[in-house]
């Protein structure tokens, strides 16, 4: 795929406790699949989906944790150069919500200040087992200056919306940055976030 195939490239990184459905969200969005075949994620670093927003091609590179969240051992480099973070919890699991401040601390320490963070409550198809109310999550996300959305990877509820809204925000943020700086500085994710050493893989 050559550089001319898209107008924007954004790196989106998923975080959150194990088992909240991060991989399912990615697979649902990129492949329309649920549940993802077990083991199929082995060797897959990130998933790619190119979407068109108002006539512009936006390439989303979506990174998953590779299981390192299981024992709280995510590498710092995972957060570097992400344009957006999707912080996910499971609405049927209080514990996954209670861990959010801990995740925010990691973000604070390793991610860029400019990163856009979205809070996602997944598994709304299991509404009868809900442990975290929408209101609590809304309050929390507001206090932390995050966008908030509830999804179901299983029923495909809000999954497209999550990624496409995020793409829109990233585009407008990128535009704003160019306006503010009043120079033709590169927009986030326009191919710079991946080291030149690997560029042979991205052409």
């Amino acid at each position: 795929m050559s550089m001319e195939d898209y107008d924007f490239l954004f790196k989106i990184v998923l975080i959150g406790n194990a088992g909240v459905g991060k991989t399912c969200l990615v697979r649902r969005f990129t492949q329309g699949l649920f549940p993802p075949g077990q083991g199929a994620t082995i060797g897959v670093d990130f998933m790619i989906k190119t979407v068109e927003i108002n006539g512009e091609k936006v390439k989303l590179q979506i990174w998953d944790t590779a299981g390192q969240e299981r024992f709280r051992s995510i590498t710092q480099s995972y957060y570097r150069s992400a344009n957006a973070l999707i912080l996910t919890y499971d609405i049927t699991c209080e514990e996954s919500f209670r861990c959010l401040p801990e995740w925010l601390r990691e973000i604070e320490q390793y991610a860029s200040n400019k990163v856009i963070t979205v809070l996602v409550g997944n598994k709304i198809d299991l509404a009868e087992r809900r442990e975290v109310s929408q209101q609590r999550a809304e309050e929390f996300s507001e206090a932390q200056d995050m966008y908030y959305l509830e999804t179901s990877a299983k029923e495909s509820d809000n999954v497209e919306k999550l990624f496409l809204d995020l793409a829109c925000r990233l585009i407008s943020e990128a535009r704003q940055n160019t306006l503010v700086n009043n120079v033709s500085s590169p927009l986030p994710g326009e191919g710079k976030s991946i080291s030149y050493l690997t560029c042979c893989n991205f052409n």
């Binding site: 050559s2 329309g32 989906k49 496409l164 033709s184 500085s185 590169p186 710079k192 690997t198």
Partner: protein
């Protein structure tokens, strides 16, 4: 932590330093079930890098090391069966000694000296500065003319191409002056843009100096990524080759080292090493330029001209250089800054080192070295990510109490962790520092002397740009001591806050780190004191903060020096003293091939782009995106690198 660790693996790896991490990636990549553990709360062991506050806690932990009484015999002994015996592992890290910290920056405390929080997105007191550095984008075959000659070092791999996107005029100037600092890469969103600038704009033509206080350092502590080891990547070195081959490079970003410096007669000067440098040099006379070019060109293929050096193979390299009509400063440049050898090294070794330096020139830029953004500590983590992507399980803060050895076979079969859990595996890889005193009682360790300095200016100021990455070799002051390697990092390497420099000093120890390094520190820097601030003649950079420590060098130890290790337990060493990472890569590859002789070492993984499902593209028109300005941003037009000075020695 509700999740419990699986108990069956093929390979258990203890320690997350560079060799262990490379091995983890290689094993996992070849289909082994890998468990990778570290007793610490961070990745990298002695290869780690820390924020300023992280470093302070690391220091605290190691300073307390001594007064820690041995814990009573652990509970695991009841878990060892009759047919087994246990090899206890070390409980406390003992690789760091002689820590000394000096703070020179003013300690007038502001009220709130906490690290600035990223959550307060735009702290009002802080003005942010627009992106001020050069960004590069990957381009398809737009640059870098490939030459099919043998010295086609300008072209790394068929189509790894780099082009410049210059963000403003200032940068264009800077860029031209430093002859194509071609590989500095910035993340578009992260990178410099998000660096807050707490201090007034500093005009380079005005020698006004900023006063950085200790509380500012603490407040901006998150901006620091301070490496425990100071290394660089040779652009033709084993690590770069492995990063590219295995695709692990996609997890990291690099900058080119911009200057090679020399310290001669009390002065720091820049060493011209590429053809462009030599011709642009103001320090060299025309005659010197010609002589140096001739000599360097000869070194590139010295093997072809045995007549030129045959008579001197038994001489030292420095004596040989004297016969080549090189003036004393050229001799100094070649010996210390280009070959980077000791004066006593032989002619052949010196020529070899010079050739190696020259062939690394120009692959990615004007010097032979790269530095990873956010510090060397990123590199082991990148390999760990690769391991995890292929199913490896990661667990920091996980101590291992002992190895369990089957008496009959003499092979290690399991470990017992700090939760008294038994974890079985076929192979065990352990980093040296985890082995007990008993296991290591016959091992003679070398030591590395390290200093880490935070300073307010570069050791060689240049009007064109304050964003330089420099390496300087200071020759031994007296015989019997070692040359000291100095690496100076600017803030755009993402290792220190704006308006500071992070300086690493390294040498192999003869005494404590301070005794070994302080004389060099004093020659290059002035301690920060209030009284001196107003003196205009003060030209040396000021020291704001300094740390000295000794680190154990466990490289080059033969396996047989360790007592009673089962045959399926392999030992990785901690960081060595060398500039490159060749030792770690070689060790990882050697051990991997010993364990899995028929497996490929870190082959490229499948490209994630090959598994795209383009799906049925939904039209996202109903998404409320109407308010987006539809003008195409000008930056999307390709800004081709204007005239890249690619005049390196090898054309």
């Amino acid at each position: 932590m509700a999740d419990s660790l699986p108990t069956e693996f093929d390979v258990v790896i203890i320690g997350t330093g560079l060799p262990e991490s490379i091995l983890a990636a290689a094993c996992s990549r070849s289909g082994q079930r890998v468990l990778h553990l570290d007793s610490r709360s961070y990745y990298g062991g002695n290869w780690a890098s820390f924020s300023f506050s992280g470093l302070l806690s690391w220091l605290k932990e190691h300073q307390q090391n001594g007064d820690n009484a041995e814990e009573s015999t652990a509970s695991w002994q009841g878990l060892v069966h009759e047919t087994e015996e246990a090899i206890a592992l070390r409980k406390k890290d003992e690789t760091i000694e002689h820590i000394e910290v000096f703070c020179y920056a003013s300690q007038d405390m502001d009220d709130n000296i906490e690290e600035i929080s990223a959550l307060q997105k735009n702290p009002s007191a802080v003005t942010s500065k627009p992106l001020d550095s050069v960004c590069l984008s990957e381009e398809t075959n737009s640059l870098h003319v490939t030459s099919s000659e043998t010295h086609a070092k300008d072209t790394p791999k068929s189509d790894e191409e780099i082009s410049l996107e210059v963000t403003d005029v200032e940068d264009i100037l800077a860029e031209e002056k430093c002859c194509g600092d071609k590989t500095c890469i910035n993340t578009a969103s992260g990178g410099d843009k998000d660096e807050n600038k707490p201090i007034e704009e500093d005009n380079t033509d005005q020698p006004k100096r900023n006063r950085i206080t200790y509380s500012q350092i603490v407040k901006e502590g998150r901006r620091f990524n301070i490496d425990l080891v100071s290394k660089l990547l040779y652009s033709q070195g084993l690590l770069i080759d492995l990063l590219i081959k295995s695709n692990v490079s996609r997890y990291a970003e690099f900058k080119n080292v911009t200057r090679i410096l020399a310290f001669r007669e009390g002065k720091v000067e820049q060493v011209p090493c590429s053809r462009a440098d030599v011709f642009n040099s103001k320090e060299l006379t025309m005659v010197e330029k010609r002589i140096l070019m001739k000599f360097l060109t000869f070194c590139l293929d010295y093997e072809q001209h045995p007549d030129q050096y045959q008579a001197f193979v038994h001489c030292s390299f420095s004596d040989y250089l004297k016969t080549k009509k090189l003036t004393p400063n050229l001799q100094h440049f070649v010996l210390h800054s280009i070959a980077m050898t000791e004066s006593s090294c032989t002619t052949i070794d010196g020529l070899k080192a010079t050739k190696n330096f020259l062939r690394c020139l120009g692959r990615f830029g004007n010097t032979p070295f790269l530095f990873p953004l956010y510090g060397q500590g990123e590199i082991p983590q990148c390999f760990c990510r690769m391991c995890a992507v292929f199913g490896g399980i990661y667990c920091l803060r996980h101590k291992v109490q002992c190895l369990i050895v089957d008496k009959e076979s003499g092979r290690c079969k399991a470990i017992i962790d700090h939760l008294d859990q038994r974890i079985n595996a076929k192979y065990f890889i352990v980093e040296d520092s985890y082995l007990s005193e008993e296991t290591c009682s016959n091992v003679q360790y070398k030591q590395i002397s390290r200093a880490v300095l935070i300073t307010d200016q570069s050791i060689l100021k240049k009007a064109d740009s304050d964003q330089q990455i420099s390496i300087l070799i200071v020759p031994p002051m007296e015989s019997g001591t070692c040359a000291v390697r100095v690496t100076e990092l600017c803030s755009s390497t993402m290792t220190c806050m704006k308006d500071t420099y992070l300086v690493h000093l390294t040498c192999s120890s003869s005494k404590t780190a301070r005794e070994d390094l302080e004389s060099v520190v004093k020659k290059l820097f002035t301690p920060y004191t209030e009284t001196e601030i107003d003196k205009e003649e003060l030209t040396k950079p000021r020291l704001l903060w300094a740390l000295y420590f000794n680190m154990r060098d466990s490289s080059g130890i033969s396996r047989s020096s360790y007592n009673g290790l089962p045959s399926n337990v392999y030992v990785c060493s901690g960081p060595d003293c060398g500039l490159g990472n060749e030792h770690a890569v070689k060790q990882a590859e050697t051990l991997f091939q010993e364990i899995f002789p028929n497996e490929d070492f870190c082959p490229p993984p499948p490209n994630p782009e090959d598994i795209i499902f383009d799906g049925d593209d939904k039209q996202p028109e109903a998404l409320g995106t109407n308010n987006i300005i539809m003008a195409k941003p000008d930056s999307s037009e390709e800004n081709k690198n204007p005239e890249s000075p690619e005049n390196h020695l090898q054309n």
